[in-house]
Assembly symmetry: C2
């Protein structure tokens, strides 16, 4: 069956990040292929007119009205935009204004409120990114005491993107540290980590998937061989179980899913 | 004036990322302090009951009903959750189900659809993160031809977090390359970049802000001195202007704002 097609616009007077994040909800409709178009910084009449032309054009080309997910604070611009035919999800009308009535506060309507430097936990998030990159793959031991979580696992088990995501999205300081054959023959964690057992979270992965990931990087190496991947994963899991380190498998989980699991675990500590 | 307080729950049967991203909209209410609580993976009756207890408890402690932003696909669990008093923003009722009527497709209602490995441009995003980290700060020249954008600017102008954000959020492959005093005395870009002029985007920054950022890293150094920051920024801007490299200032812009500007610029190429 060929898929249905729709154009989905994300239109905002700011970055369009909030409106765009609702794009995740389109995944609930797998039989429709959405052509996603982001139009940020739509904060003047002439830009609204340009956006209208693009909406009208998409309708003409597609034969169906486009979906428009919009976050524009200015009342006049908002009404103007909606003068062309489309299916509108207006975040001000649907969420922000009703929420304002509930909490008895008038919302700010100037552009770019949601993702400026002043909102949204910005400073801590940037600090956490620097921390994650500065403590990637065990490159430094200094400052580990500041980490909120230390991810461990064999090479290519997903530690780096998960650390970066925890930092970027939540401002969580995550270090990560590889488990390597030396650790397995010693049968303990890297010595530097021994004082931090309560912050350690393990990532593991199916050997077949690890073999495939490592083969992309170093094809036909011992490092990437299925036999070696099986051995490393087995030894790493044994070590983590023995030390009661909480663990999640990255084989079929996205970094978003892994991060949500890790955060629940941090909250338990 | 002391701020009003409200508890805001983000409840989801998956990661809670989509529901949580609406948290950005709370920035429109600066006079209210939101205590934000994320409850992911609420996918069973017993978990719904736990969530209800937390909502009821927050209402009792706060004296006002909490805000609950929720994305739960299962009809029965959704209704059950809403049995306790709160202000609900139900993404299925408000957004997903009406959109399904518009596009004539029944939505998937199983948990965790939005941010699994199969949706949301996942593979390209992870590949782009590896690319950004592998091409951070000019550490390698190989593969620069794969970059969709190459950020340049003086040390600490914001290149790294912006590259990582472009990758994580949009799957855009962004390399970044520092402009250093050697480049200024030669008066040209680093030679390796000369073939890629059409992909280059410059970040600049106010010298005072740069001085403050660099002082955190290396206090009282020549590198961090205001005089040196002024000189480097001046020379970098001259170079970029001379080569007609598009440029944005990072001083008062978040990585989200910078990324939105850069993407508009990529689209123009």
């Amino acid at each position: 069956m060929s898929k249905n097609k729709r154009t989905a616009f994300f239109i905002s007077d700011g970055t369009g990040i909030t409106a765009g994040s609702l794009g995740g909800l389109l995944a609930h409709f797998p039989d429709t292929e959405f052509d996603q178009i982001r139009l940020p910084f739509i904060d003047s009449e002439s830009k609204v007119e340009d956006a209208q032309k693009r909406i009208a054009n998409a309708k003409m080309l597609g034969g169906v009205r486009p979906i428009v997910i919009m976050s524009i604070g200015n009342n006049k611009l908002r009404k103007e935009l909606k003068a062309v035919d489309a299916y509108y999800v207006d975040l001000f009308e649907a969420f922000i204004n009703p929420l304002g009535l509930e909490i008895k506060e008038d919302p700010l309507t100037r552009p770019g409120v949601s993702h400026s430097m002043t909102g949204n936990n910005y400073g801590p998030r940037m600090e956490a990114i620097n921390f994650a990159l500065g403590h990637d793959d065990g490159i430094t031991h200094s400052g580990l005491n500041q980490a909120q979580v230390i991810l461990v696992g064999v090479s290519r088990s997903g530690k780096t993107p998960t650390s970066v995501y925890l930092a970027m999205q939540f401002g969580i300081k995550a270090a990560n540290y590889p488990l390597i054959p030396e650790d397995f023959s010693r049968g303990t964690l890297p010595p530097i980590l021994e004082g931090y057992l309560d912050k350690i979270f393990g990532l593991t992965i199916k050997p077949e998937r690890l073999h495939s990931l490592r083969s992309e990087r170093r094809p036909d190496s011992k490092y990437a061989s299925l036999a070696n991947c099986r051995e490393e994963v087995g030894l790493a899991e044994d070590l983590m179980k023995r030390l009661s380190i909480p663990m999640a498998e990255s084989t079929s989980r996205s970094v978003e899913e892994l991060s949500a699991i890790i955060i629940q675990n941090i909250n338990k500590l």
